[in-house]
């Protein structure tokens, strides 16, 4: 229960975060930092609703303990993408292409898609599906999510 303090870059802002080392990063993000965009679906690595980036690497925050962070780690949650007034192309396209319905999977999908587009600005539909294989959606049937990512990639490349 002895808490520890870590200095992290949270969505681009330096922040001192204090929590028990055995807390799940997911709980620290939602309960301590009040960033409730990151969701808990399964709590065991299956669904991807809790996906975030640590140092540009996609992970499930339900399977990382707070103590595993290092000082200086860069954390990106869905709140770090864009807010309601300044949506990123990816967020915009999830709306226009019907990539979101109930929204439970959406933050994780956005983060996983963002991670893909950092590394691969021109993914094929197969590559998009592959990159989102760890993210489950009970609503959309995935086609529209893939459409959304494909469209966003195009816009980001300046092609549409």
């Amino acid at each position: 229960m002895t808490k520890v303090v870590k200095k992290v870059q949270l969505n681009g802002v330096e922040k001192m975060v204090e929590a028990s080392p055995e807390s799940r990063l997911l709980d620290v993000i939602r309960l301590e930092l009040n960033l409730t965009g990151t969701k808990e679906g399964c709590g065991e690595g299956e669904c991807g609703a809790c996906s975030i980036l640590i140092n540009d690497t996609l992970i499930n925050s339900c399977l990382v303990l707070f103590g595993q962070l290092n000082d200086g780690d860069k954390i990106l949650t869905v709140e770090g993408l864009g807010d309601a007034k300044h949506l990123t192309s990816l967020q915009e396209c999830f709306i226009t292409e019907g990539g979101t319905q109930c929204g439970m999977c959406t933050p994780g999908m956005l983060i996983a898609a963002h991670a893909l587009l950092i590394k691969n600005p021109k993914p094929t539909r197969e590559e998009i599906a592959e990159a989102l294989a760890g993210n489950l959606c009970r609503c959309t049937g995935y086609k529209k999510i893939i459409d959304s990512v494909e469209k966003a990639a195009k816009i980001m490349r300046g092609e549409s």
Binding site: V4, E44, L63, L65
Partner: protein
């Protein structure tokens, strides 16, 4: 309630010392097995020794005669490493079959080995490539070849106080070999294997000069199919031999029924996989 004890190692000597000092607190690498087991109540946990940030344990060394992979190298680290791709392509394939990106980015080869599940997807590959494990404790270290490492269901040669530090693979010349890694699960991503097979063969003029077959989920530990290998060596691949191989492999082990599959299905599928491999090897000269 007792406080949870969290020890974090910053370097290898510290990891070894903490691991020896706190035998009741398991090493925490990627946590993709340990955290799930703990949170679901399968495994009681009063503390951990966090080794996930130890740089020395994450490195992959491309040496002259071998490749050494640190126990905390993630599946993604392995998939992305050029030397591993060149010398151990079946290991890359196996790591690519583990979970989805999030799991590959976090889960480690050492965790896969030490979780020691018969369904661990990297394990059959270790048998084919003759891997050796480096076990370290405060007194010293020892190398254990993979054939002596997996003792019985979820039991390994690792003793209390020892840490798996790295895995060494000899660089062998597999120039004229053809290899394949097959994983059968309910779906491609995120599924735990029902059966996995790693096979490598050297075929010349239609005859099998050498063949190695290893299997996951067919026995309490990952196994080499020595009986079927011996039966096939030196023979010409024809329909008859393919049929013999299928029957022999299905008969060589006594798999079990469990939540993922049945014994009958497992035997049937591993027979079907060797048929597929031999048919393709025949076509490929």
């Amino acid at each position: 309630m007792k406080d949870f004890v969290y020890h974090k190692a910053d370097n290898l000597p510290e990891a070894v010392a903490l691991n020896a000092a706190y035998p009741d607190y398991p090493p925490l690498a990627g946590g993709t097995d340990l955290i799930v087991q703990w949170r679901s109540g399968i495994r009681k946990l009063d503390g951990v020794v966090d080794i996930s940030c130890v740089d020395e344990l994450k490195r992959i060394y491309d040496e002259k005669k071998e490749i050494e992979i640190g126990a905390c190298a993630t599946h993604s680290d392995i998939i992305g490493n050029a030397a591993v791709k060149k010398h151990l392509p079946l290991l890359v394939q196996a790591c690519m079959s583990i979970g989805a990106t999030q799991i590959q980015n976090r889960g480690t080869i050492g965790g896969n080995i030490m979780n020691a599940s018969p369904a661990g997807d990297a394990l059959p590959v270790l048998l084919i490539y003759d891997a050796e494990m480096l076990l370290q404790n405060v007194k010293g270290e020892r190398w254990v070849p993979v054939r002596d490492f997996f003792k019985s269901y979820r039991e390994t040669a690792l003793e209390s106080g020892e840490l798996l530090a790295k895995i060494r693979f000899p660089k062998r010349d597999f120039f004229d070999y053809r290899g394949a890694y097959y994983k059968i699960g309910t779906r491609r991503a995120q599924a735990i294997s029902k059966v996995s097979m790693c096979v490598m063969a050297s075929v010349s003029h239609g005859a099998i000069k050498d063949i190695m077959i290893s299997l996951g989920s067919m026995a309490p530990v990952p196994v080499r199919a020595r009986g079927t290998e011996a039966l096939l060596k030196g023979k010409v691949i024809d329909d008859n031999l393919i049929h013999t191989a299928e029957r022999s492999l299905a008969d060589e082990f006594n798999p079990i029924d469990d939540v993922r599959s049945t014994a009958q299905y497992r035997s049937y599928v591993c027979g079907a996989l060797i048929v597929k491999f031999l048919r393709e090897s025949r076509i490929k000269k």
